[in-house]
């Protein structure tokens, strides 16, 4: 069989086989609707509540502070739309950054259109939101600050704890989109001063189509959709029991194996970065650390990302130009623009994100194929010296 190397774990991860095993009984045998009183329903209810407890523990939250959703996008939307709409009497101010995921960015833009007062903070060339910028942006009417924990394209880890502490001091709510870090970086919502946090199971070897929102007890939020009143009215719809069970199982595994996984991935990732930087006119986007252990966000002059991705794919290597959504837009990545990369360089970006099964051999293979591909594309390109 053809060699296939998956290096796009920031887009999505394979479901861990151990997780699938935990989910299996809930597909057909333990099938009940967790809202039902009979024994089938009660079994489902128990499983759902056990999952809630496990997830709460993993981020040091209370069980009643975890709300199940369909994924990161929905969690982000409930956090932003829900909190801003429910706290209008306090004010209309939302502070976020210019390089959030579209689930936050587009929601913030929507709120802006609806009359909320939104502040998109700049980020540094290195890929960080600065505390001083947050501080400057806060005002009496600020309701919520939303800063992602790690950026999905360039992997830089934000000073979330410092931001959280400042927000707490100033009496402002703090949401963090932790879709890229849950299961990959330590999260303690108490210590980090986080009031709301978004996560998506398929990013940490759990199933697709399920996520959670942590919402600190007492934080007011409105639902964005209405129905049977599930999840204390914040998120209606029949509970996805296998998905929820799988998410909890995946998170437990990820937390348990985090240190080990990260150490291995970081080593391989550094090797990959170093190898890529040997290619002429190649660079790394964002600071090397603090950065997700799995992330190598590179760029190459005179060639275009999509073309590299396809040629790599032809060699069995799955990489990305940035986020999975960027295939839909002509605009260069807003993340790369936010860190001040010139337009022309934005088009040459290439993101590898490693995972649990990535081996040293895989990296060697990439480092063998990538230079040839860059060279080949540069031959086609009218830019650069030939």
């Amino acid at each position: 069989m053809k060699r296939r190397i998956y290096l796009d774990h920031a887009a999505t991860t394979p479901l861990d086989k151990r997780v699938l095993k935990e989910m299996e009984p809930f597909f057909s045998e333990r099938l009940g609707n967790a809202g039902s009183l009979h024994s089938f329903g009660q079994e489902a209810r128990e499983a759902v509540e056990k999952a809630r407890e496990d997830i709460a523990k993993a981020i040091n939250a209370g069980q009643e502070e975890i709300y199940f959703t369909s994924g990161g996008t929905e969690s982000d939307n409930i956090a932003l739309q829900g909190v801003m709409k429910a706290n209008r009497e306090k004010g209309k101010g939302l502070v976020t950054s210019a390089f959030e995921h579209h689930a936050v960015l587009h929601t913030a833009q929507h709120l802006e259109k609806k009359g909320f007062d939104v502040n998109f903070l700049p980020v540094t060339k290195e890929g960080f939101v600065e505390l001083s910028e947050v501080e400057k942006a806060l005002h009496k009417e600020t309701v919520l600050v939303s800063i992602m924990h790690a950026n999905n394209e360039i992997g830089t880890v934000q000073p979330v704890k410092e931001i959280g502490e400042m927000c707490r001091e100033r009496g402002v709510l703090f949401h963090s989109d932790a879709v890229q870090t849950v299961g990959k970086e330590k999260i303690d919502v108490q210590k980090m001063g986080i009031d709301l946090l978004s996560a998506s199971a398929h990013k940490f070897y759990g199933p697709k189509g399920v996520g959670f929102l942590y919402k600190r007890a007492g934080v007011k939020a409105e639902p964005i959709a209405f129905g049977g009143g599930h999840e204390k009215g914040l998120r209606s719809g029949t509970e996805n029991t296998p998905g929820i069970v799988g998410m909890a199982s995946a998170l437990k595994l990820a937390v348990k194996e985090m240190a080990e996984d990260n150490a291995r991935e970081r080593k391989l990732r550094n090797k990959l970065i170093d190898g890529c930087l040997e290619i002429k006119d190649g660079w790394l986007n964002g600071a090397r650390e603090p950065r997700l252990a799995c992330n190598a966000a590179l760029g190459f002059d005179f060639v275009e990302g999509e073309s590299m991705v396809l040629m790599l794919s032809d060699k069995g290597i799955a990489a990305s130009t940035g986020s999975a959504c960027s295939t839909k837009s002509l605009e260069p990545s807003h993340v790369l623009r936010a860190i001040g990369l010139p337009h022309v360089k934005c088009h040459g970006s290439l993101r590898f994100t490693l995972g649990r099964n990535t081996s040293a051999k895989d990296i060697d293979y990439v480092l063998q194929e990538l230079p040839k591909i860059v060279q080949r594309l540069r031959k086609i390109s009218p830019l650069g010296g030939k």
Binding site: E304, S307, L310, P332, H347
Partner: protein
């Protein structure tokens, strides 16, 4: 997302490179926007005495569709009379490439622009030479 034809054209592009001492050159696009195309042509005559594109080459910086368009267009015009080459439309190219997201249609326009500029460049030079 893209048709098989686009992928195929991208994977096996024809007519890459430059022509030394070209009769016409068309350069369009802007690296800032993510697409740059250079088309080089060499003009000759066919038996009927019409001016034809004897040789054509391109260099493109851009997405898959941009490269596929460049390759397809150069294949289509090679050997064609200038008149016929100028008649090729965006529609022809899109038909030749198959399904693509509408936001990518501009790549076809870009390729046609480059070709037309190259032909114009040739005509201008010729005009000058005659004068």
């Amino acid at each position: 997302m893209y048709s098989e034809k686009i992928f195929k054209e991208f994977r096996h592009p024809k007519n890459i490179g430059e022509i030394k001492n070209p009769d016409g050159v068309g350069k369009v696009g802007n690296p800032v926007c993510g697409d740059v195309m250079h088309i080089y042509i060499k003009v000759g005559k066919n038996k009927k005495g019409e001016e034809i594109i004897k040789n054509v080459r391109f260099r493109t910086f851009g997405c898959i569709v941009a490269i596929a368009n460049s390759s397809l267009l150069t294949k289509m015009v090679k050997g064609k009379s200038l008149k016929d080459a100028e008649k090729i439309t965006k529609k022809d190219l899109i038909k030749g490439l198959g399904k693509m997201p509408p936001i990518k249609y501009h790549c076809s326009i870009l390729a046609l622009d480059a070709l037309r500029k190259a032909i114009q460049d040739y005509k201008n030079k010729k005009g000058k030479a005659v004068k």
